[in-house]
């Protein structure tokens, strides 16, 4: 909308005071936009300068003696520390400077350690290097109040958990990842409290969700089947997180949790809808005490307990009938697992029925809300279920063909009906 303020004043639509307020409002908004750009360029600049210095020193000048090379390894770290120290003493409020300097310091900590390793030809252990780097960089987030350093930290600890837990075939599990993650949470909560609609919060949500989903699997060792409960409970936590007062304010911000929770739960359910998993479980059914005292039980208990607390909170404020079925999937699965773990055929029937129910209920919610996206999501769930069943059932091509035609017509009719009713409403 284009507003010509002088014209509006002339025509007596608004007073001079209102016109001043409007122009002040827009100039403040513009200033915020410029500040954001400064932060982006500050961080990008710091990243490039840091990496540039690192590359120059990493050239490994053979003309220099070992001692001089070792001293040079400290240069980026010292420069970054002096810059950050100066900003702290000056008590600079410039977000761009703080973010930029903190990013530079973050990179420099890792750079100086890897440069020393290179100078002395030490191959080293990537997971130990990442662990030391992240531990030394954690205080930078809080001291410099830097969101970008916090994002880099989340990426770093995730790389550490992957390297130690998946890639390097290490014998020790990266338990320290969870401690490192917990240590970063207070900053995240502070950020959410301070600015719950900012982009930094969105990026944090995304990285925290991805980091936890990726790293949870590192706990698995021998009793992999228990991890399905842990993952379903984790996704239930994402779906129920709006029960925490801090997260109630912004629906838009919780979208990443919502998407991760819903799609994660559905993917796990689809994996469990195949007979392979249950047949394997029936053959290798472990003794109960072995499962109870396994290390996979720790994440199972923790995630399920948190999900139950959040569910309880939700039930206290809302009627049970208003809670979406997807939020209860973790509980239903635990029941199926405990009751029918040794009866594959029954368990498969229950899981498939559950998916069908979720698909139908999503369609109903979509119709009630008059939301075309939710409606199609429900139809998509049913379609994927049918496609999955094509793999492990011996239905004739004729029947498969009719099923597909049926679902296709369903898609068309449902969408047509909704669009038509919308048109009529208009």
């Amino acid at each position: 909308m284009r507003i010509n303020l002088p014209e509006l004043i002339e025509e007596n639509v608004i007073t001079q005071q209102v016109a001043d307020n409007i122009s002040n409002f827009y100039s403040r908004k513009k200033e915020k936009g410029v500040n954001k750009l400064f932060v982006i360029f500050g961080v990008l600049g710091a990243l490039l300068v840091g990496l540039g210095i690192l590359l120059i020193i990493a050239h490994n000048w053979d003309t220099l003696t070992l001692n001089i090379k070792a001293i040079l390894a400290f240069v980026p770290l010292l420069v970054a520390q002096i810059l950050c120290g100066w900003l702290l003493v000056k008590k600079s409020d410039s977000m761009a400077w703080k973010e930029g300097a903190a990013t530079f310091l973050f990179i420099s900590v890792g750079a100086s350690i890897s440069l020393v390793s290179q100078i002395y030809h030490i191959s080293g252990d990537l997971s130990t290097f990442l662990l030391v780097w992240m531990s030394l960089s954690l205080p930078v987030i809080y001291l410099m109040n830097s969101s970008f350093a916090s994002l880099l930290y989340l990426i770093g600890i995730t790389c550490y958990s992957c390297e130690a837990g998946y890639w390097s075939n290490q014998i020790d599990q990266p338990y320290l990842y969870w401690i490192l993650l917990i240590l970063a949470i207070p900053y995240y909560l502070m950020l959410v409290k301070r600015n719950n609609k900012g982009n930094f919060v969105r990026f944090h949500n995304l990285l925290i969700v991805m980091s936890i989903v990726i790293s949870l699997g590192t706990v698995a060792k021998t009793n992999h089947e228990l991890m399905y409960i842990a993952y379903l409970s984790l996704f239930a936590i994402f779906l129920l997180i709006e029960g925490i007062p801090l997260f109630q304010k912004s629906k838009d911000r919780n979208l990443i949790f919502e998407i991760a929770g819903f799609s994660g739960s559905m993917i796990i359910l689809f994996i469990l809808s195949f007979s392979r998993f249950w047949n394997h479980l029936a053959i290798s059914h472990h003794a109960v005490d072995q499962l109870l005292f396994s290390r996979e039980m720790i994440p199972v208990l923790l995630t399920t307990l948190i999900a139950l607390v959040l569910l309880y909170k939700k039930i206290r404020t809302q009627a049970l009938s208003r809670i979406r079925p997807i939020g209860l999937v973790f509980l239903i699965y635990i029941l199926i697992y405990v009751a029918f773990g040794s009866m594959p055929s029954l368990a498969i029937i229950f899981i498939n029925t559950l998916i069908l129910f979720l698909g139908v209920s999503t369609i109903i919610i979509g119709l009630q809300l008059n939301h075309i996206g939710v409606l199609n999501l429900g139809l998509l769930i049913i379609t994927v279920l049918i496609i999955c069943r094509f793999f492990d059932t011996e239905l004739s091509f004729m029947l498969r063909g009719f099923l597909f035609i049926g679902v296709g017509i369903g898609f068309f009719l449902m969408n047509y009906r909704m669009l038509k009713s919308r048109k009529n409403e208009n």
């Binding site: 050239h59 490994n60 000048w61 053979d62 070792a70 390894a73 400290f74 770290l77 010292l78 520390q81 950050c84 120290g85 702290l88 003493v89 008590k91 900590v109 100086s112 350690i113 440069l115 020393v116 390793s117 290179q118 100078i119 002395y120 030809h121 030490i122 191959s123 080293g124 030391v132 030394l136 205080p139 930078v140 001291l143 390097s168 075939n169 290490q170 014998i171």
Partner: protein
């Protein structure tokens, strides 16, 4: 004002810890290079398709495997201690290895099991890369290829060892340090 002072004091402490980590590494490696016992490890011919990655030479020691009675006991990536001695030809040899750090005298190196195959445990040495100036890499690469085919003139690395920790000192090709290649 008080918060600012506390913040600055904490920042100084954090900065000192950040500096202490690389400083401690330098002290440790310099100590090993100065006071450690020197060993020569013969280098095995390298895989011609992949000897150089950027600006370091990937090294494979000739003595990189040890025969064992039971393969099941050893897991990939687990930490092992290699007991080493110098043979009559002047080169180092691994004569035993264990999970526990050797308590009695004798020299040893902390390493990892790379993988286990055909009755042997293949060792992952802590010194398997030699970093060098990137401009010298192509010339060094040619020389390294030639030397790895020449059995009369063995290529080797010199390594200093103290209490299980090893630091690579030099890479010698045809009796000449790779640093002197122009």
């Amino acid at each position: 004002m008080r918060t600012k002072t506390i913040l600055i004091v904490v920042f100084i402490i954090v900065s000192l810890v950040q500096l202490a980590v690389p400083a401690n590494m330098i002290y440790k490696y310099q100590h090993i290079l100065t006071f450690g016992k020197e060993f020569k490890f013969k280098i095995a011919p390298v895989d011609p398709s992949d000897p150089f990655r950027g600006k370091f030479v990937r090294l494979r020691m000739e003595a990189d495997n040890v025969r064992v009675d039971s393969l099941n006991d050893w897991q990939s990536k687990e930490v092992i201690y290699l007991k080493i001695e110098t043979r009559s030809d002047g080169f180092a040899r691994v004569f035993d290895f264990s999970r526990e750090k050797p308590q009695s005298g004798g020299d040893f190196i902390k390493a990892r099991v790379d993988y286990v195959t055909n009755g042997t445990v293949v060792i992952e040495y802590p010194f398997d890369k030699y970093y060098m100036e990137e401009s010298k890499a192509p010339e060094a690469e040619k020389l390294f290829f030639k030397a790895s085919r020449d059995t009369a003139n063995a290529s080797f690395v010199t390594v200093n060892v103290i209490d299980g920790e090893a630091v690579l000192k030099d890479l010698i090709i045809k009796g000449k340090s790779i640093k002197d290649i122009q």
